[in-house]
Assembly symmetry: C2
Homo-oligomer: 278 residues x 2
Amino acid sequence: MEATLLKSHKTFEGQTQFWEHDSVSTKTKMKFSTYIPTGLVKGCVIWLSGLTCTDENFITKAGAQKYLAEHQLMVICPDTSPRGLQLPGEHDSYDFGSGASFYVDAKTEGYSEHYNMFSYITNELYELIQNQFQIPKNKVSIMGHSMGGHGALVIGLRESSKFQSISAFAPITNPTLAPWGKKAFTGYLGEDQDIWKQYDATELIRSGARHPNEILIDQGLADEFYLKAQLLPSHFEKSCEVADQKLKMHYRADFDHSYYFIATFIESHIQHHAKFLA
Amino acid sequence: MEATLLKSHKTFEGQTQFWEHDSVSTKTKMKFSTYIPTGLVKGCVIWLSGLTCTDENFITKAGAQKYLAEHQLMVICPDTSPRGLQLPGEHDSYDFGSGASFYVDAKTEGYSEHYNMFSYITNELYELIQNQFQIPKNKVSIMGHSMGGHGALVIGLRESSKFQSISAFAPITNPTLAPWGKKAFTGYLGEDQDIWKQYDATELIRSGARHPNEILIDQGLADEFYLKAQLLPSHFEKSCEVADQKLKMHYRADFDHSYYFIATFIESHIQHHAKFLA
C-alpha cells in the first residue's frame, strides 16, 4: 500500500518527511517518518521507538540526519502502535496499548485484530521500503530504543535473513522477567509462556536464534529503568556469550534513558549499520 | 537570584540541564535550560527561541550539544515569556502574550508589570550567567530564531558592549513593518512608534546602532514566514550595507522555518561565536 507524503523539511543534504498509509496488518492508518539523503541511497535502517513515543521522537531529537546523509543511508521510523482504536484498556496506561505495542502479533481478544506490529514491521513496512523507496531487500537493518530496542533485537534475530545488522539503545532484553514485559505480554499474548519466549531476545538466543553479524548495544549506567531491572542487559550478554553470538555491549557511565543519551551515540550506531549496508 | 536545578542529563561530554528561578524583572518564576560542557568553559551563548517555544525546544531539537562540547562553550536558553499569569488577552493567540514576549520591556497596563524580557535577558540573566555559572562578562554572546532572532539582534545591537557576537536564524528583522511585529508592539508598547523603533533591528542600524563584530544570519528560501513578509531580511541587509555594519547573510535554498533548518546550520553558528569567545 503506497504511503502518502504529509510534510517534508530539507535537513542537511536530504529531506525529513512524514507519511501515512493504510495498513493491512493493523487495519488502521499508520504513520511513519523518514530521512532520505539526496542522491544515491545505499540502504535503510528501521528505527523502533520506545514507550509513549510516536513516529516523531527519533527524527526530531536524535540528531541522526547529519550522519545518515554522510553515509548515504535512509531511516524509517514507524509509530509505536496502531492509533484511533478503542480497545479494552488501550488508553489507560503508558506501558500498554496505544504507544506501547511491544512489536508483537497479539493473540488476545480485540488486540489480535489490530496489534500485529511484528507482521507490520517484518512484512508490510519491509516491503514498502523496497517498493516505495526502492531499497534492495538485502540492504535493510534495524535498531531501536527501550521497547523499540527489544523490538529490534527480536525482529532482527527471528528474521535474520531480512535484516543485515541490529543495534539497540537501552533495550528491554529479557521482557519475560521484567515488569513492563510481563504486563504487556499478558495483555497481548495471554498466559502461554512459550509464546512469550518468541518475543524475548534473551530466550531467542538460548533457543538457538543467531544473527550472523555483531549486534551493537549501548546502555547508560544512570538509566532509571536499567536500575529498576526493566532492561536486564546482563541476561542478554550472558546468553550471547554462552551461544557465541557476536555482541558489542557498551555500558556508558552517567548516561540515562533519554534522547540525550541516544543523540550522543547515534553516530556510532549509524556507522555500525553502514558497515553492513554499504 | 540563584537558580534551582530541576533535571540533568549527560549529553556528549557535558550536561543538559533544566533550571527555575524567581525573576525580579518578570515577578514570576522563570525557567531556562543550559548545556554545560565538562571541564573548562570558555564562554556562554544565550539562545532566544521563537513564537510558541519554551526553554525546551532548542536544547532537545537543535543538536547543538556536540559542537558546544567541542568548542567548550555553554548555552543558556530562557523561556519565551513569563508564565502562570492571567493578563488580558495573554493566552488568546500564539503570536501575543504567553510564548510570544518579543523580548521587549512592555509599557501597557498589566504587561508592564511582568513582560520585561529585555531587562530580564540583558540584566538579570546576564548577571546570573556571571554569578551562578562563573562566565566572565566579556565572554557572552547571543543568538536566536525568528522572534528570538529579532531578540538577539535588538539586544546585541543595543547592548553591544555586553555581547561579543550576534547570530540569528530566520530573524524578524523589521518588526515595525511586519504583521507579527505590529500586533505585538501595539499590545506591549502602545501606539508610540518611536518606542517601537527601539525594538526594530533595521531601525536601530538606521539610527546609528552598531556591533563591532560581523553579524551572522541564515535564512531559508522556502520559509513560509519569509515568503509572507514577516521576516524582511533584505531590509536589514540594506540598512547594514548603507551603515557599513559587517553582516554575513546566507540565503539557503529549499530550507524552511523549522528546527531541521536550525539543526543543519547550528554548527556554523557555534563556530561563529567561538571565534569571538575563545
